[in-house]
């Protein structure tokens, strides 16, 4: 029953998204919508490893940037269409997640987090030194007119991002309800106990790291088409790493709706903020809100809501 409801909901959202370019003429809607949806994908992807398994990835920006550059590589190299770019990015991101996970997840979670902190610097160094994808100057990507259905390239990448968002939410929802989610919840609570009870903890961690890495990179892949110019500083910016962490933690990390709520809320506020306040103050506020949430509301808005409902029932 609930499976069917999920599928119907997803199809409905996709149908609405496909109709949007025919109905909405204001291009800003697509520009803003792309950013919000990109953050939905990023927050959901981060939460698969961070929320479900409890392993913090501080280097989401590295994965997103990798996705952008995988797309540029495929575009420059063979003029690949967008969906090939996205698949290529998924492959690269999944491989990076698996590799990082294999080297660091066997010991303690803290090492994985520290390695991801350093990852962004290293990857951006590689890109700066690699002239095929533009090096430090950046790369210009001029996409051809996609199809008759989509009147502009921005409405096209908006729809692509919508597909990715629905896909990652479906993935998170499915993982949460399957044995994978239960296994991850067990290892989050107590890794040794889970291992003793027969949960294949290392396999599950590596699976989560791979899926999370692949989705993060996929979120970056349509960006070169969207912005038509990418350079290393913005591709590997702290914004992605911070928001990937802040959105699920503010929304709630225990189920798939948390990152969705956090992403829509925070990207909405940030989008309103960019026209009114400098970006540094924006970062400062997000940082302070993040600290406030991890100290006072560890389960995010969903946790606060659950507590409020419980209080209401008691009184």
């Amino acid at each position: 029953m609930s499976e069917r409801r999920g599928i119907i909901g997803a199809l409905l959202v996709l149908a609405l998204g496909a109709m949007a370019p025919r109905v909405v003429t204001n291009a800003y809607v697509f520009y803003a919508g792309f950013v919000a949806l990109q953050y939905v994908v990023i927050a959901t992807a981060w939460n698969i490893l961070g929320g479900y398994a409890g392993y913090v990835n501080f280097g989401s920006g590295a994965f997103v940037g990798l996705g952008m550059y995988a797309a540029i590589f495929l575009f420059n190299g063979m003029g690949a269409p967008l969906w090939v770019q996205i698949l290529g990015a998924a492959f690269a991101g999944g491989l990076l997640g698996l590799g990082m996970g294999y080297l660091t997840l066997r010991i303690q979670g803290v090492y994985f987090s520290i390695a991801t902190l350093a990852l962004t610097t290293v990857l951006s160094t590689v890109i700066v030194n690699w002239s095929f994808v533009g090096g430090a100057r950046g790369a210009t990507v001029l996409a051809a007119q996609p199809t008759v259905w989509f009147p502009s390239i921005v409405s096209y990448v908006f729809f692509a991002m919508l597909v990715l968002a629905v896909m990652s939410l479906a993935m998170a929802r499915w993982m949460e309800r399957s044995w994978i989610g239960r296994g991850l919840a067990a290892l989050r609570a107590d890794e040794n106990a889970a291992e003793c009870a027969g949960v294949p903890t290392l396999k599950l961690k590596l699976l989560a790291a791979t899926i999370s890495g692949a989705l993060l990179a996929m979120a970056g892949a349509p960006y070169p088409y969207y912005a038509s110019y990418v350079e290393p500083d913005s591709a590997f910016s702290i914004n992605y790493a911070l928001n990937a962490l802040a959105m699920p933690l503010i929304g709630g990390t225990r189920n798939w709706t948390g990152p969705l709520i956090g992403a829509l809320l925070l990207s909405g506020v940030e989008q309103a903020a960019t026209v009114t306040i400098p970006s540094e103050i924006n970062l400062l506020i997000v940082g302070l809100v993040l600290i406030g949430f991890v100290v006072m509301a560890p389960d995010g808005l969903l946790g606060l809501a659950a507590r409020a409902i419980a209080l209401g029932k008691r009184s």
Partner: protein, 291 residues
């Protein structure tokens, strides 16, 4: 010619190791001994650099400034530990998603505050020894590297003596080993940890002064040091002071050789490769015991 280059690279790597050692010693205590992943430490070093720069603009030598600001950093470290203790350790939530994120948030807020306060331009200090160098044969040693090397050596040796010879140092190592046992002998684990955190933060003030003597600093300078310092602490074997000095030497030499023979842009990759390599091959580090 190549030999001369190699010789100079080795000497400057050796000197650079002094800076890396003092930058990592704070983490050897907080992360290595207390297992508190203070990812904000490199950002506090940058704060220390700006404090030294501020004092220097009033005519104080940057290294003296580093010493003068150390007590303030000690108190700041104690306060930060109290915040961490009340938010996480006391509620049994240490080493969780939230406690890592707490320090990440602190680092971010500090970095952005620095940007808002001083802008994004590089700043440097003035001192008599900066710009001069000591030449022995074919080897040139700039004093701006010799001075931080001296600070690193003195603080490293002092830290080792402190941790092995004083009551407070022993209490700090004991709390890292077994906090409950400390309670049984009538000492407060929280107080020992708070002091340890304060001392770790003091090294950030000195490391900041050393950092700005070596090269100009901007608010983003800390990001380069996250990979480097954690690589050194892990390679050292968690919590080992002699290990930290040895690991700093390894990373300093490797980086210097890469800068000379491969290219300066590849230097950030050295520490990262060392970190992943250590975790994959020998997670207990050079001087560490199996854990």
């Amino acid at each position: 010619m190549t030999l001369e280059l190699a010789l100079n690279a080795i000497v400057s790597g050796f000197l650079l190791a002094g800076l890396y050692a003092i930058a990592s010693l704070g983490l050897t205590i907080t992360f290595g001994l207390l297992e508190i992943p203070n990812v904000a430490h490199p950002t506090f070093i940058v704060l220390g650099a700006y404090c030294a720069q501020f004092a220097n603009s009033l005519g104080v030598d940057p290294v003296v400034a580093g010493v003068l600001f150390a007590p303030a950093f000690y108190l700041g470290g104690m306060a930060l530990y109290q915040a961490y203790y009340h938010s996480f350790e006391r509620r049994g939530r240490s080493n969780t998603l939230q406690s890592f994120t707490f320090f990440f948030g602190i680092a971010l807020v500090l970095q952005v505050s620095l940007i808002l306060a001083v802008g994004v331009d590089l700043t440097s200090v003035r001192a008599a020894y900066i710009g001069k160098s000591l030449t022995i044969g074919v080897v040139t040693m700039p004093y701006r590297l010799v001075v931080p090397f001296a600070i690193g050596t003195v603080v490293g040796a002092g830290m080792w003596l402190f941790l092995t010879r004083t009551r407070m140092g022993l209490a700090i190592r004991a709390v890292a080993h077994d906090a409950d046992a400390l309670r049984i002998v009538g000492l407060s684990p929280t107080r020992a940890k708070g002091r340890a955190f304060g001392i770790a933060m003091m090294t950030a003030s000195l490391a900041g002064a050393a950092l700005i003597v070596v090269s100009p600093v901007d608010p983003f300078s800390g990001t380069q040091y996250i990979g480097r310092t954690f690589a050194i602490v892990v390679l050292a074997g968690m919590g080992s002071v002699p290990g930290t000095l040895a690991a700093a030497l390894v990373i300093g030499l490797l980086e210097s050789l890469v800068v000379t023979f491969v290219g300066a842009t590849w230097a950030p990759g050295v520490a990262f490769a060392a970190l992943l390599g250590t975790l994959a091959i020998r997670p207990s580090g050079i001087f560490g015991m199996a854990r």
